[in-house]
Amino acid sequence: MIEVHNLAKHYKIAKRDPGLRGAVKSLFYRKYETKEAVKGINLHIEASEMVGYIGANGAGKSTTIKMLTGILTPTSGEVKVNGIVPYENRKQNASHIGAVFGQRTQLFWDIPVRESYELLKHIYEIPQKQYEETLAEFVEVLHLEPLLGIPVRQLSLGQKMRCELAAAFLHRPKVVYLDEPTIGLDVAVKVRIRSFIKQMNARYGTTVLLTTHDMQDIEEICQRIIIIDDGSVIYDGSIQNIKSQFGDKRVIHFELENSDNFILPQELAHAAQVLPREEEDLHKISITFSSRDISGAELISIMMNHYTVADLTIADPKIETIVEEIYGRGMKKEVQHEEVH
């Protein structure tokens, strides 16, 4: 369904000296610097696969998706989605794809949701009968009934996202790109959205490419993940594999009464590391460990024996940590070989 071969995108960005002087100088004379946002990636995604496309901010996720949707023309390489080259036949490609771009609405701001859907029906030339069926189904699954008469601008974030999702799937697209569809939403809405996506995939065989920072999204929706870092694919394989290798990573943040002379207690030296402190939060100590080496409870109790702990938070394993970890352990090559097709 999605075929990507040696895809690369380079941007030219103006380099500017700092301050007002730099700004004035750049009016007359500019140095350009090439930024390689995507460096020759290869992807092969089958029809009706659900793939998590993850990476840190600025890793090249959005740039890739923009090229897949036809918004951006690649610098080099080949893209084919459903047999169509998106940036050459943008309109043709557009009728087969759906998209949700995080905070940017695809709906019409001032008009009620139902009328937005009506307009989309005409834009995508959806047959009346199919439109009615689809909408009835979506209204039920996403609980849209009370929202249909309200203008988009008056909806809450969660309500808007539900409407947004329905809009992306309304024309029964073959491929749907979801860029951070659950960002900033409460748990109940997240659950509903995830089950909706799974249902669409089961029913219509929709291919889904999902980018998110929420590991829960990935675990529940995707069978496969692709991790991109600094413009290159560093992992492409099953989610189980990555979880068993890296999913045991935990981070606990401690707030200590006195953290000036903090050193990691002797007992933890073999099992945990201290993360570099963030500048704005110098008294916070973050400790990373693997749940295979030591349990969270054990670590906390050791810490409490040595220091007066004012507060602590246990963080979910973040995708950034996993990416770091892949590099850190030098697993890059090893894991890449285990591709699933």
Binding site: G70, I71, T73, K91, Q92, F101, F108, D110, E115, H122
Partner: protein
């Protein structure tokens, strides 16, 4: 084509509904534009209280030019007003991407996204001014004259559209070209008076480079005997078509540049 006409109708219907929702906005917008136009006409009236003619043009002839400019401009103002917003409302906040993943022409979608109520004020004033001026001109108004007048006004509207489209397109390279669009648009004020009162340079600029001359003065001159511009005036529809075509080609180039650099 039929599909686009139908789509435009549907977009319009939605836009009208929104307009009705903000009733106060509608009335204030229309009134303020009418007031603004009226101030311009009032100024001309004061000038003509002191002189009888301006370089051979009478008060009603000038009023007639004014009327054509106002009605032509109203076409642009009502239906193509979104051109002003390309940079700051679409490209800068990333909203333009939305138009690129729809299976319809992005320019069409962009234009159809908005209907500008304030333009109706322009239209009313334009029609009133034309209605006032026309009986005082030395023309017998038959069917053909009306048809030609309407064609001229439509052409005038599309020249406004073409010029704005051309300069709005610069936003694809520079994010927001609004200051340029605005500066150029202000040149059209010159075109509301007989071009013969200006220096040759300005006249050529407004005829062949930024063809605002065809938005009011030349079309009006077609109807005024002895103006000496009857033949050039016939080029008005041609000027409209050529400038729209050029602007659209330029838009496509801009779009191409945009999709290869991103915002």
């Amino acid at each position: 084509m039929i599909r686009y006409i139908k789509l435009y109708y549907l977009f319009c219907k939605q836009n009208l509904k929104v307009m009705m929702e903000y009733r106060m906005d509608f009335l204030l917008g229309v009134l303020s534009v009418m007031l603004q136009q009226f101030a311009g006409i009032f100024f001309v009236k004061i000038v003509f209280d002191h002189i009888h003619e301006l370089n051979g043009w009478t008060f009603y002839e000038i009023l007639f030019i004014y009327g054509i400019a106002a009605t032509g401009r109203s076409i642009h103002h009502i239906f193509f007003d979104n051109l002003w917003t390309l940079g700051w409302q679409y490209i800068r906040p990333g909203k333009f991407d939305r138009l690129l993943i729809r299976p319809i022409n992005p320019l069409f979608h962009f234009i159809a996204d908005r209907l500008q109520q304030d333009g109706f004020g322009q239209l009313f004033i334009g029609i009133i001014v034309l209605g006032t001026a026309m009986p005082h001109l030395d023309i017998s108004w038959g069917f053909m004259e009306y048809v030609i007048l309407i064609i001229m006004i439509i052409a005038s509207g599309f020249i406004f559209v073409a010029v704005n489209l051309f300069f709005a397109t610069l936003s694809f390279w520079m994010v927001d070209s609004l200051p340029i669009v605005w500066t150029i648009f202000n040149l059209s004020d010159f075109a509301r008076y007989p071009l013969t009162i200006y220096h040759k340079g300005i006249r050529h600029l407004l005829t062949w480079i930024i063809p605002y001359g065809f938005t009011a003065f030349y079309p009006a001159a077609y109807f005024i005997k002895g103006s000496g511009f009857e033949n050039l005036a016939l080029l008005t529809p041609v000027a409209a078509i050529v400038s729209c075509a050029l602007a659209y080609l330029f838009w496509n180039r801009g779009l191409k540049a945009f999709t290869s650099t991103g915002s």
